[in-house]
Symmetry: C2
Subunit: 145 residues, 2 copies
Amino acid sequence: MITRETDYAIRAMLYLAHHAGDGAISAATVAEAMDIPYRFLRRILSRLVGTNLLVSTRGKQGGLRLARDPEEVSLLDVVEAMDPEVITLNSCVLKSALCARSAYCAVHDELCRIQIYVNAELGAISLAKLVEHESGRNDDLPHTI
Amino acid sequence: MITRETDYAIRAMLYLAHHAGDGAISAATVAEAMDIPYRFLRRILSRLVGTNLLVSTRGKQGGLRLARDPEEVSLLDVVEAMDPEVITLNSCVLKSALCARSAYCAVHDELCRIQIYVNAELGAISLAKLVEHESGRNDDLPHTI
DNA sequence: ACTATATGATACTATACCCGTGTCATATAC
DNA sequence: GTATATGACACGGGTATAGTATCATATAGT
């Protein structure tokens, strides 16, 4: 399950992707535009900086910007940055040691197969693709990116 | 994320599928065989009865049995019985009303697409298939179904 | 140099969910 | 009648989620 924290992270990344090339953008600006609690967002952005998805500059005129081109950042990157365990279907998929029976467990095999597909799909969705989709449909609507 | 409760439910269903035709099996037997805390399992089985996946008979010689053939019960059935929100990738996938921007949200669209695939996959995995896989590989191993 | 503006790093709280337990009532086979 | 089984709740500890609060630090512009 994608938590709200991760959801906010995606929104923030999308906003920054949409404004890539505009220089550094402050957390306050992102919070306002994306309707995310400021202090909560601060911690999220901090994490995204720590995982090298964002680059920050301090002080006046400072802020955040994407560390890579929007084409080079996937939804999976963002999700994994926020939660190393990703959207894991079942914990036994992640740590097979958790389940004594995992070596012989058919359920485990099936879940792993599905999990691999999900991760591949998320990895194939770039921020650029998402931004393109959104702006193509509703440039003038309120509260859109 | 599949919770441990759901995981137990799957294990229990698999055990009962494997012993389909053997008559009613008590919760105590399932708990012992599948290494699930008895009282916890009781509540889980109660839920599976309530959602018509299991049929129970009370009293001596009573217990649980599958309400349908193992071929007719999917992993999705079990997961949905335990948690109506299933393995939902994101809550906005389920209740679009949660997110004001969902109508124009590309992320929402992509997640829905993946979610549909996941559900279809889970729906295509029957208990019979799982039991067949397991027993084909390790009939003599300890702690297997 | 000073100040306003920006992030960095923690620590804190309240709520909710997860996992498991405990108790008592009720039905039924022998 | 009694042992055996499920039915229906209520309770509690631990942990994660969602959000807040505070202070330190860096920097652009005056």
